[in-house]
């Protein structure tokens, strides 16, 4: 089957991308030494060079895995929201996750609390809960109410972030770096705390593939097929929020991947979410991984913001896709 072949091909590409990523950076390491370092760690044999082992295993591997998980989470969440809201412009941040995370992270940074990651995660989750409750006027929240409440709350939260930045002159550079997204300095502890949540979110969305397919045809239509709308939408938003909040907590605001990858995925495997969610996850992972590789090599040893790079590569690619029809 074409879909299975595509998935396998993309998975292989992602695996190859992960290995290659371990060699690139401010200190290039040849492929053979990368593999030797990995093998040495896995088999507890004495490493060829201690420096290689540290760079490969302690610095680059967790960061590469985190980039892949983060891309997978954001792209799957974007695919799900585009179906739920029947809106091609929907992305993981449409119902307030990024605004909430930004406020949480900014608060932690300007007050000097060493809690940026949990604050961002909590901010994202709380913002989505607030949007869900605000959209609830008169029974259940309609999709359009969710979108509007999301837009309004996101605006409110980002002005709060701007206000905080305006009032504070501490750590402004750190706030900027966070808002532009990046994985500098992320290591095993970050991976261990956030990647499982991202992957759980992706798995949840994959399991919800059939309800997502039904929702593409409209809410009443899905309901007439036997779908409990309120429950289905809650489950989808919960899974997508888990993935998004964890991704934002790990890497700051990395836009675009959640918007374009699902569109590219639809061109590859069609709109059925049983194929679209895994293909988006793999392609999103690969895209963020490559963007992060570029971010840490282009002007090494200085790092570029991944979010900015992503848009720089992603937007022209997307426009080319559109043009090709």
């Amino acid at each position: 089957m074409r879909r299975v072949r595509l998935l396998a091909g993309l998975a292989a590409l992602l695996a190859a991308g992960l290995i290659v990523s371990l060699g690139v950076g401010a200190v290039p390491i040849p492929l053979g030494q990368v593999i030797a370092a990995l093998w040495g760690r896995l088999t507890a044999a004495p490493p060829a060079t201690a420096q290689d082992a540290i760079i490969v295993w302690d610095l680059r591997l967790p960061r590469a895995l985190l980039a892949a998980a983060l891309g997978a989470g954001l792209a799957s969440a974007g695919a799900a929201y585009q179906a739920v809201f029947r809106n091609p412009l929907a992305d993981p941040f449409v119902i307030g996750a990024s605004g909430g995370a930004a406020l949480g992270a900014t608060l932690a940074i300007v007050t000097g609390l060493p809690l940026v990651m949990p604050a961002a995660f909590a901010g994202a989750v709380l913002a989505v809960i607030a949007v869900y409750l605000l959209a609830q006027s008169g029974g259940r929240p309609s999709a359009i109410n969710l979108l509007l409440a999301g837009a309004a709350l996101s605006t409110l939260l980002s002005s709060a972030v701007t206000l905080l930045m305006f009032l504070s002159d501490r750590n402004l550079h750190e706030v900027f770096a966070w808002l532009m997204g990046g994985l500098a300095g992320r290591s095993w502890p970050h991976l261990r705390t956030t990647a499982p949540l991202m992957l759980a979110g992706v798995a949840g969305l994959w399991a919800l593939a059939r309800p997502l397919d039904a929702l593409t045809g409209g809410e009443e239509s899905a309901q007439s097929l036997g779908l409990n709308l309120a429950r289905a939408r809650f489950a989808i938003v919960a899974a997508a929020t888990l993935a998004t909040a964890a991704a934002v907590a790990a890497g700051g605001i990395i836009g675009f991947v959640g918007l374009i990858v699902p569109h590219a995925g639809r061109r590859l495997v069609g709109g059925s979410h049983a194929g679209l969610i895994p293909i988006s996850a793999l392609a999103g992972g690969l895209l963020v991984l490559l963007a992060d590789d570029l971010a840490r090599t282009v002007v090494a040893p200085v790092e570029l913001p991944v979010g900015m790079l992503m848009a720089l590569i992603g937007a022209p690619f997307f426009l080319w896709l559109l043009k090709r029809g």
């Binding site: 059939r210 045809g217 007439s224 036997g226």
Partner: protein, 265 residues
């Protein structure tokens, strides 16, 4: 035998009641057309029958039980809805859309089994969609898309099927194809078919039973001959109407008979 019944039904949105104290019984093996002026409540009634709109008063009874005591899936196993055909860009194939009808039986998480594939094949066969099964919905014509939605409802294997304006945006040929299919489903397969129809002449030609809805209630109900009289239609639409006969089938043929130069609405 499944029965669908509207009992003492009052429906509305926000403050305004659209329909009041309506009684209606839907019978198996028959095509029931809901006819009436724009805004009279045809779609509102269909939505209430499909458990998409909660009645203000009264109840919709499916096999004697209030539909609001049944779950979405209970309803979907017994009642298929063919929504109004919107030209949306569904990036799913015909087969994928029709298979969604099986969720009523298989659930939302278990993989489809042999019985599901058989039901999907049968639904595609009945609607003549076999050759189009791998095509994307967005690539189809309006008439083909309408048939896909009918096939999806058939895959639910319901005893009753509701169609909301199934001929909207369709040309003469597809109008006949879709309504002919509805008639065949009722007469050959024994389904109860309810459809809302704008076009009185199509309703007269294809329906066994007509419910004429106007002024917030059921103005007349019965065979097309009984319901489509000049008197009823004049009261429903507020304009002079002449009723003739279909040259081939002898069913009522309704024509406006107001002065042709007048332009008051």
């Amino acid at each position: 035998m499944t029965t669908l019944e509207a009992h003492d039904l009052t429906l509305g949105y926000r403050d305004a009641a659209v329909l009041r104290d309506l009684h209606l019984a839907v019978r198996p093996g028959r095509v029931l057309a809901l006819a009436g002026p724009n805004g009279a409540g045809k779609t509102t009634l269909l939505r209430a029958l499909a458990r998409l709109l909660r009645p203000r008063q009264g109840a919709v009874l499916l096999d004697g039980r209030d539909v609001w005591q049944l779950s979405e899936r209970d309803i979907a196993r017994r009642l298929g809805l063919v929504p109004q055909n919107e030209a949306t860009e569904w990036p799913l194939t015909v087969e994928q859309v029709v298979a969604l009808g099986r969720a009523a039986h298989r659930g939302w998480f278990r993989p489809y089994a042999a019985a599901d594939h058989a039901a999907v094949d049968a639904a595609l066969e009945q609607t003549g969609l076999g050759p189009l099964r791998a095509r994307l919905l967005g690539e189809l014509s309006g008439g083909e898309r309408q048939r896909v939605l009918i096939a999806r409802a058939l895959a639910q294997e319901p005893a009753t099927i509701l169609l909301d304006e199934p001929t909207a945006h369709l040309d003469l040929r597809y109008q006949g194809a879709v309504l002919g299919l509805a008639r065949r489903l009722a007469h050959t397969c024994g389904l109860a078919v309810v459809l809302s129809l704008h076009d009185l002449n199509l309703a007269a030609l294809y329906a066994d039973q007509v419910a004429l809805i106007a002024d917030g209630g059921l103005l007349a109900e019965g065979s097309p001959d009984e319901v489509f009289t000049a008197g009823h239609l004049q009261r429903a639409y507020g304009v002079p109407v002449a009723v003739g006969r279909h040259p081939v089938y002898g069913t009522p043929l309704v024509m406006p008979a107001a002065e042709r130069e007048s332009n008051h609405v």
